[in-house]
Subunit: 391 residues, 2 copies
Amino acid sequence: MRILILGGDGYLGWPTALRFSARGHEVAVVDNFNRRRWVEGAGSNSLTPIADLDTRIATWEELSGKRIAAHVGPIEDGDFIDGVVAEFLPDAVVHYGQQASAPYSMISRQTAVETQYANTIGNLNLLFALRDHVPEAHLVKLGTMGEYGQPNIDIEEGYIEISHKGRSDRLPYPKLPGSLYHCSKVHDSTNIHFACRTWGLRATDLNQGVVYGIETEETVSDERLITRFDYDEMFGTVLNRFCVQAVIGHPLTVYGEGHQTRSFLNIRDTLACVEIAALNPADAGEFRVFNQFTEQFSVMELAELVKEAGAHLGYEVEIRHYDNPRVEKEEHYYNAVNSNLLDLGLEPRLLGEELVESILGILDRYKERAAEGAIDPRTRWNPGRPTAAQA
Amino acid sequence: MRILILGGDGYLGWPTALRFSARGHEVAVVDNFNRRRWVEGAGSNSLTPIADLDTRIATWEELSGKRIAAHVGPIEDGDFIDGVVAEFLPDAVVHYGQQASAPYSMISRQTAVETQYANTIGNLNLLFALRDHVPEAHLVKLGTMGEYGQPNIDIEEGYIEISHKGRSDRLPYPKLPGSLYHCSKVHDSTNIHFACRTWGLRATDLNQGVVYGIETEETVSDERLITRFDYDEMFGTVLNRFCVQAVIGHPLTVYGEGHQTRSFLNIRDTLACVEIAALNPADAGEFRVFNQFTEQFSVMELAELVKEAGAHLGYEVEIRHYDNPRVEKEEHYYNAVNSNLLDLGLEPRLLGEELVESILGILDRYKERAAEGAIDPRTRWNPGRPTAAQA
């Protein structure tokens, strides 16, 4: 297959490119390096010393003999992404190319607009490019479990059968997104669903849980292939953040009571899920939704797990409760269905102490690189009315 | 009250401004005249000879002694709308300031992006301005019944109680928007709901049906106050289009069989609804949704009504079926709830032959202005793959 990966320089995009390339697919990546810039702008960095994209691609070619094509540019530029799609004529597009940080989207009007513009307009440009050049191609779009929020009923996969006043219909599952970033992903789902209904495009929306982990089958073969690893309050996801905090001796930053429950998966399972989706495309006109996670945990369960794993390796890990900077429920019902990917053959790698210990061991090599000032939570969901001086 | 009206130069915005001003409220309007430009760009015009905004405002002051303030600029410019809100400090904002044509949003990637950018980013800028300067103000946002699409169950007002696997919750009503314009309104609802939950803003989303009619209590007093009246395939709504077609002797352009059922209301009822909403604000943190329509009709029912009313006035009206340029169901269940506004006191003006005859009588005065070339449907929802020459 010819597979185009948007966001192919990122935490998940780069390992995904390697995975498909290793399996013999023809791979091209698109990126504009915004993630690198945003993280630098937040006073942070990738804990892992990532090579630039050219070096990554050259290294992979040296090791595997396989060539990955690169297109550098923003998908918000409709002519750019139209040109890439028209030239490469992909069979599948895996779309990770978005601003993916909830806190970043909540800093200010400017970052909120930047997020919704980059994500929603970029995705809309992509839909037109697919319609006009490869209407049979399969869009594999990364969504997020955070689109659903925490409803008081079980979370189904994208749709729910509703019986109401003696009639019934299968309708899009209602969404309660938890940040303006999550709102942008809901917008994308709405637009993609419309494009499938109206233009007959085929798409799979992977509503992904929180990803953790660092190594994949291909990235371990050479340090120049290592993927990025974010740990700051803005771009680090919770378990990855906790792991870095443990190895550098920073208290684990639990927001509020830590009873918030979310869904999680290993980075290796992300790659397996994306591959399963790509190899089993949606039908023409079908907007298919998979909930892409393997397990559910509360934040405190993760903190306790990291504390115990850390203790075995000789780290003294403190768990500290911070005033919750987010507006979110700390006590809530949470139960999500995830059978679609399991039915297609996903074999989950479950989280345990051993796995956390292995992550801590890898991170220990790079702990001197950590920018400790970027770790404590500062981005407040509701900053209140600005003071006269700020206004 | 201090009432800020976005889109205050438009079909509904201008009469709304007059209405609130006549009732003694302090009114300011915002517009960037994009609607005038878009309609011109489509090779059409307002059938009514509308004055420019300065003349309208001067005329109103001359007649009523009341001054309406005007701010000219695009709300996509966050600093502009922030400045207007900070200066005027409204108690309520009535937001009509959007690209409101479904066909326009479906012409091309460029018009689709323009629509979603203007609507979603403009509205997002407004939410930040409210948060930062007037968090107690009430946002009255014009949504559309078209956000719901045509589900096989009754359409409730914004939310639905769902029982599922032994639990239940009241969740946002699922949406099946019918164009990229309608998608943009769904995006707005998602963002506004989030802002209410997170920042405690108060908002009412008026999911409006298709508006018809031309005169309101205030616009009839002087021809310089007349509101715009669109009739082209892009910016004209169905009943208004049919009325112009009848007086100029053009066949009524029924798309497909014409069994599509939609909800409708008189322009005078739009003003009554917006006033009711403004005088009964939502609670802090509440995202309230009203379905703003008074009756449901199929397209063929409207065509027959116009044909009969026309016959009484001596017009020979032909009903013609055109290949449907839209991707939509022509046979479907449709039943929507609209009790919230009725409960607050709305007294509907129902559609009948007499009313249509009165509209035809007014339009007859201006029929020489009609650009007949802009009437037939050309904008296709699914244009198919471009030919080599177009690509």
